[in-house]
Each structure stands twice: as C-alpha cells, then as structure tokens.
Point group: C2
Chain length 232, copies 2
C-alpha cells in the first residue's frame, strides 16, 4: 500500500508514576504497540521495576527505569492523573528525565494532565497545547496557548485532551508515523467506531447539575496545579 | 440528585489471563473503578499473583486468584484477545470459575472476544450477544444470536463489541447501576467525547484495501475459534 510503512523500529517511552490514570496510557499504548516493529518502553519513575499503582488501584509492570530508558526516541509520552501527577511534576528526577529525553525524541507528547509534567519541564513554551478541561486555562502559566481540542499538534509537540482522548491521540500519531491506511487497520482491529450511550463528555454538553459538582470536585486539584511553574 | 446512587458496594470481578487485550479491560475498568464504593477484583487464572502479560506485552498485576475471588458479584467480566483467549476458553479451571461465579452475579459480561469464554461456559445460550467483528458469526456455535451492535443486553448478559467498545460498554453499565447523572459525571471526568481522526473502525466504513488484508490476518484465529463448543 502506498504511503504505508508496515514495519518500523520506533522506540517509544511511556512514563509510569504512582497515581497515573491507567486509561490515559493504555489507550495510546494499544495503538503504539500495535505498530509492527515498534518497541514500547514503560518507564517507571520509581527506583525499581515493581508494578506502578494507578490512581484507581490497577498496577502496571514497568519495563525499564528512568536511567535505563533508551536515549533516542520516536515518542516521549506522559499520562495524566491528579495528585500523583502533581507529585511527578514536582519530582526533580522525573523532570530531568523528561527534559533530557525530549531533546532526543521526534515527538514530545501527553494525554490529559500529563501536559502539566511537560509544562513544568518547559516543553510547552510558546506552543499551542491541550490537556484535561479542568486545568486547560492553567497552561498559560507554562507560557503555552491553551487550545480546546481533542488532539493538538504544534511542531514536535502533540497533546491530547482528557483520559479517553488518548485513543484519538494514539491513532493520529500512528497515521503520522505509518500512514493513514496503517492507522485505519489499527482502528478496525480495535473496532474504534465509538458510540457513547448518551450525549456528554464536555463541560458544554453535560447538564449543569452534573458539571457544577464535578468542577467543584476538581477544585482542590486545580488549586494545587495552579502553583506549578516552569523549573528553571 | 434523583435516581443517582453516589455510594455503592459492588464487587466486580475482571478476569486476567495471559494474552488478554489490555484496552479491553482498562476501558471498562476506568468506569467501574470510578464508582465510589465499588471494589474491582483483578482475577488471574495463573496460580499466583505475578503480573499477567497482555497480548502486546503490557502486564497488569492481579489482586486475587480464581479461588480467592469473592463468590457473590455485581459484575463478572471477561476481556478478549486472540491466541490467549483461545487458551483461556480451553482452560477447565477458567471455565469452571466463570460458570460458578456467573451463577452468583448480577451481570455476566464481556468485551471483544471475551464472549468466546462466556460462550464456551454455556452462558450465551438462547441469548442475543455481540463480540469482535472477526468472530461475530461464530456466536451461533454457542447457541447465541449474533447482534452487530456496540453493546448488547439480553437479561443479565451484557456484551460489548471489539476492544474500544469497552468504553461505551462500561459507561452503559455505570448508568444502569448508578443512574445516568452518575455516568454523565464519569463521562465528563474521562472527557469521553470521542473524535476519531478519520472515518473507520467497522468493516463497512473501512476501505477494502485495508479491510481485506485485516480479515485475512485474523483468519487463522477465526479458524481456531470456530472449533470451540459449549463445555458440557
């Protein structure tokens, strides 16, 4: 098939830290790992290879530590979360790792509040980016331009909106790396023809009696996230 | 909020077996584990609690063995896969577990080819059900009526289509258990307003130059799956 790269040799690093949201990572993982020949490294910011517990409890086994992750990458990826993401964004070793690998990767990427980690590492400066709706306005504190969209690309930065946006994000990256027919094959394998059981999923499409308490629920996290700044 | 159950005490068992598809499980997990008070048990069919490797490599840590899984459940769930699913469907201990817990659960459920496991356990008999498109016609061999839909409920059986259908499936179950406003809150948290980057995800919406090689790729798996019958 023209424009399609069936076999590749991408090195893809996906960050795992305590309190990450599992679906933020597993959505794009499904499409990244489905690229024949790609090597996906699950990189823990813990000091050993014990499973990393997500925000809801489910734990994923990492394949490599920060120190042992390959230097040259095709994709560097950070998932989101809430309290765990704040801790990762404040962790010097994690930020050093993200900054270092970002200078040796084709695409710097995040889904959901993973953008806060990239932001603190200074990787959103002067760029258009997206993140989970709850913290979208905060991207300005990292000198980024917040964009209310599902997936936003600005140069080598590709960011996805909240949690489930990781599927749209992952597919769009596969299309970029391997061509659209390859991505269409992955889409068919994953039967990705979504049919949410009812309308919703954004602030504007959610009834106020639901969106207002949810916004209130996120307020303490947003308050803490609003204190993050680029690490000099 | 009327019709909403904020706090619950559901016991939910999600089966893990070598070669399961991680996204089949993590999609619904996100919505199940997001129900306040629900306990999600990740049940391994291995003999110990070592992480269970998925079809693409990513390994998830189980919380309990088949023997130690609670008896009375709100949801019993089987994810899909390919070769690993055939092995699980042929494993007597797995089928015994599924059958036993199915008789003590409110909902018997699957996503993707997880329906083959339920089918072999005799749980699809006389019911309408769905599964991954590649094996949908095979449901007749378990005396089920195949339905080409994203999520199908027939009595206490709820089945989802391939992989990504787990998100629609999970949300629809949350709506049933906790009321639609609760599910709308989960949907907003997960920002579930999907926007696939291009059209596709079903056989009919995928160009033939992509769908034909993919159908051929699945043929050996389908051939093996076609030999499965209900265990007497």
């Amino acid at each position: 098939m023209p424009g399609v790269k069936l076999m590749g040799n991408e090195d893809i690093a996906m960050l795992l830290y305590p309190g990450f949201t599992a679906l933020d990572l597993v959505g794009p993982y499904h499409f990244f790992a489905g690229m024949m020949g790609a090597r996906v490294h699950l990189v823990t910011n813990q000091t050993d290879l014990r499973p990393v517990e997500s925000d809801m409890g489910l734990a994923i086994e990492p394949t490599v530590t920060l120190a042992d992750c390959p230097q040259a990458l095709t994709i560097l990826f950070a998932p989101g979360g809430t309290d765990g993401t704040l801790a990762a964004a404040r962790d010097p070793a994690t930020i050093d790792f993200i900054r270092d690998r970002a200078s040796h990767t084709q695409f710097v990427t995040s889904v959901c509040t993973g953008a806060l980690i990239l932001g603190r590492a200074g990787l959103l400066q002067g760029k258009r980016a997206t993140t989970h709706w709850s913290v979208l306005p905060l991207l300005t504190q990292f000198d980024a331009e917040p964009v209310d969209a599902r997936v936003v690309q600005d140069g080598n930065l590709i960011t996805g909106a909240g949690v489930s946006a990781g599927l749209d994000f992952g597919l769009s990256i596969v299309a970029r790396l391997r061509g659209q027919p390859y991505a269409a094959a992955s889409m068919l394998t994953a039967e990705y023809h979504p049919e949410p059981p009812f309308e919703g999923g954004t602030l504007s499409s959610t009834p106020k009696n639901v969106s207002e308490p949810m916004t209130a629920l996120f307020a303490p996290f947003v308050q803490e996230a609003s204190k993050l700044r680029i690490v000099k």
